[in-house]
């Protein structure tokens, strides 16, 4: 498998872009055609991914399982930025997730967006998003990653604010874009810092300081020590560790980690397929993927890894607690996504990339499934409030059963996808290289909370009596078929990572991808006791949830009264939104107003108009001399001639003396 297959990789990337262009510009008004173009763009991506994956899996002994293909994008002086595609195991796996989850969601959108005014625009934006996401996946260097990073932000902005007539949607899009930008600020700073620190080393000569492969090779050869020695500590950290943390800022923004997680729940303002595709399966996972890609940057620096793990853990726990009290079905899923993303990031920080990647993969399928189910429910009830649902089990059997499958996977019922991936994370916390007991506790408690809120949501939505208006009905086949299509991997994909099953395959061994992400150092076994403990926590949470909301053995309202301050804290999301609002409305706007005040009053009214006023005033003063009276003029002329004569005489006198 070599660069001769590059056209396929380029096709994965550019088929969706072409589809976006065609759907957005040429056939925007021909609804069916626009959708068809978009879906086929995505399908081409999926097929090419599958082909490359097959070639990679089928690569013989000693044959490379991936390739890189680059072209020079910007050249200026000694600086070269490249643009390329990498098809290694990591990127192909991720591309499979994106295209594999993406294709059914595209199909589902045909039904979901049916009748919407901006049908063509929607598919154009969706395709643009797919292009951006695949760009991150296939990127060969840091700058290219940043390029697509921003593009993902752009398409997210466009899709969240898709219904631009709705103020809340536009605000949510803006918020997503801006919060991501804050993260991107760190990301780009990190890239620049890393680039020039590395490029300034003589031993780095001949390599490209942005390139993943070059950097990884340099680090693997111990270059990071040289890097740390070459430059002084900044902010108490060695420069490469600081660069790694700055790069991690990007992931914090995109993967919605604390404290930049606030945009994700608001992003549910977008159409549901968007929530499923971007805010569950792909875009938010980009951060995790990126950390896996540049894991070599973190590996040598335990302090960086700890920071990553704790931010992940904190996000996982916090989001799970907020999810307990949400009443909007999409918000529950959104916070659940946040919590799971926290898990992934924690996994990366604790053990390494693979556990995080594994959970990312499984989560993509079951969370996309859950979102599409919720979309189906919303489609039927015309409401997103779970308080206005109930008893949908009978009206919508397909949706119900697929939802149950997704829930089972999320709660980590043994045997489902989520079970294996979550187990691996817990194992990392318990036995891994950077094992940490507090984080293990966080992980276990979060597992319990997850089961609790999912059971609460399921019970309120599908069981009991219907509390809404109208008659809910099952969605059309174009929407339910993708549900079943996703339900299969949601159940089964976890087995891929089951150590006893596929671990022997050479594809899963050695260094995973061009940047040398290591897979399972030493025998990584299935930990039965840990799995049991984890399942016990989940079961406890689930049973409790069922007791309160399903069987109604415990009075929910009474407990709410009893724990009112806690409930308020959670339903107000720890007051973080208020804090950011204050930051934006008061601090940022205040600084802006101050600058404007300075501009208008000091610079313009003060300096500029002051100067002009001074000129005018001097003109006015001099005008007084212009009396119009000949006598005055003569007097001035006289005074002048007196001065001239005096000067002549004095200089003559001085000349005479000296």
């Amino acid at each position: 498998m070599g660069p001769e297959l590059a056209p396929f990789a380029w096709a994965i990337l550019f088929a969706p872009l072409a589809a976006a262009g065609v759907a957005g510009l040429l056939v925007r008004r021909r609804r069916g055609l626009a959708a068809a173009v978009a879906v086929s763009g995505m399908a081409v991506g999926l097929l090419c991914t599958l082909y490359l994956l097959a070639r990679s899996l089928g690569a013989g002994e000693g044959e490379p399982t991936g390739f890189v293909h680059n072209v020079d994008w910007i050249r200026a002086g000694a600086f070269t930025a490249r643009f390329g595609v990498v098809a290694d195991r990591l990127s192909l796996l991720m591309a499979l997730v994106v295209t594999g989850v993406g294709t059914p969601i595209f199909v589902y959108s045909i039904g979901y967006m049916h009748g919407d005014e901006g049908y063509g625009r929607f598919f154009a934006c969706l395709s643009l998003f797919a292009f951006s996401m695949l760009g991150i996946v296939l990127s060969t260097n840091l700058l290219q990653t940043f390029v697509f990073w921003e593009l993902v932000g752009l398409s997210s902005y466009l899709l969240i604010g898709f219904w631009f007539g709705k103020d809340s949607a536009v605000e949510a899009g803006k918020k997503a874009f801006m919060v991501n930008r804050v993260g991107d600020f760190g990301f780009l700073t990190g890239i620049i810092l890393l680039c020039w620190s590395a490029a300034s080393l003589p031993s780095f000569a001949g390599r490209n300081p942005l390139d993943f492969a070059d950097l990884a090779a340099f680090y693997r050869a111990g270059g990071y020590e040289e890097l740390a020695k070459a430059s002084p500590h900044l902010l108490g950290l060695p420069v490469p560790a600081l660069a790694a943390l700055l790069v991690f800022c990007g992931a914090v923004g995109k993967s919605a980690q604390f404290p930049l997680h606030v945009w994700l729940p608001d992003a549910m303002e977008g159409p549901t397929p968007v929530s499923a595709l971007m805010h569950a399966a792909t875009m938010v996972a980009a951060g995790v993927y990126m950390i896996c890609r540049v894991f070599f940057l973190f590996e040598p620096f335990p302090e960086a890894l700890h920071a990553v793990a704790w931010i992940g853990g904190l996000t996982a726990f916090m989001a799970a607690t907020i999810a307990l009290v949400q009443t909007d079905i999409k918000k529950v899923l959104a916070y659940s996504t946040l919590s799971q993303l926290g898990y992934m990031v924690m996994a990366v920080g604790l053990a390494g990339a693979t556990a995080g990647m594994f959970h990312l993969t499984t989560h993509a399928f079951f969370k996309a499934l859950l979102f599409l189910c919720s979309g189906s429910v919303i489609h039927a009830c015309h409401s997103q409030e779970i308080t206005e649902m109930g008893g949908l089990r009978k009206a919508m059997p397909s949706t119900f059963w697929t939802w149950i499958i997704g829930t089972a996977a999320l709660v980590a019922v043994p045997g489902t996808a989520g079970f294996f991936s979550k187990d691996e994370i817990l194992a990392a916390a318990a036995h891994g290289e950077h094992a940490s007991l507090p984080l293990l506790v966080v992980g276990l408690v979060t597992a319990g909370l997850t089961a609790f809120y999912m059971l609460r949501c399921t019970a309120l939505t599908f069981f009991g009596e219907y509390r809404g208006h109208g008659h809910p009905h099952e969605s059309p086949a174009v929407m339910t078929l993708p549900l079943w299509f996703l339900a299969v991997p949601a159940l089964l994909v976890g087995w891929l990572g089951f150590p006893l099953l596929f671990h022997g395959h050479p594809w899963f061994q050695g260094e995973f991808g061009i940047t040398g992400v290591k897979v399972h150092e030493g025998p990584h076994e299935f930990h039965l006791p840990l799995a049991l403990v984890g399942t016990a926590f989940a079961a406890a949470g689930g049973i409790l949830g069922w007791m309160v909301f399903g069987a109604r053995r415990i009075d929910a309202a009474a407990w709410k009264e009893r724990l009112l301050p806690l409930h308020t804290l959670l339903s107000r999301k720890y007051f973080l939104d208020e804090f950011y609002l204050w930051l934006v409305r008061t601090v940022q706007q205040g600084i802006a107003e101050c600058s404007d005040f300075f501009e208008q009053n000091v610079l313009i009214r003060g300096v500029v108009d002051g100067l002009s006023a001074a000129v005018k005033a001097s003109g006015r003063a001099l005008r007084e001399l212009q009396t119009g009276s000949i006598h005055t003029y003569v007097r001035f002329a006289l005074a002048g001639s007196v001065l001239v004569v005096a000067w002549v005489i004095l200089s003559a006198a001085r000349g005479g003396n000296g």
Partner: protein
Amino acid sequence: MEGLGFYGFGALTLLGALLMVTSRNPLHGVLWLVVSFLGLSGLFGGLGAHFLAAIQILVYAGAILVLFLFVIMLLNLRPDDVERMPTFSLRGGVGGFLVGVVGFCAVVGSVVMGTGAFAKPVAGLPPLEAGAADVAIPLFSTALLPFEVVSLLLLAAIVGSVALTKRRLP
């Protein structure tokens, strides 16, 4: 003879000037100025500038001042009864002081610079007699360009005067 000419004509010139400046009636003023210019012409003659002496009478006293007279009579100006020489005022004091300073400076200047030929009696200088022909030579050779320029200036003055005094039709 030299001394008689200077002091006589000098006194005449100065007297005419003073009376012109102090005359209330502009008509009288012009006549006194004529007197002054006649004296000046005598002084020119005393300095050997015979051509200029003639010009001074012909052009200045004859033509220009007649023009003044003509204008005064045309406008029918009466003796100005509001106007009077200021006896003393701040402005007059300052002005007089400045004039005094100028005069003082002029005198001091002439003394300081008045060495060599300036201090010698005029009678002792080599004789210089400048008739019309003598003045014409430099006028039409070295000073030809200014001469032409002055003629242009006169032309412009004629055109300007006509333009300024032309009555506009209502």
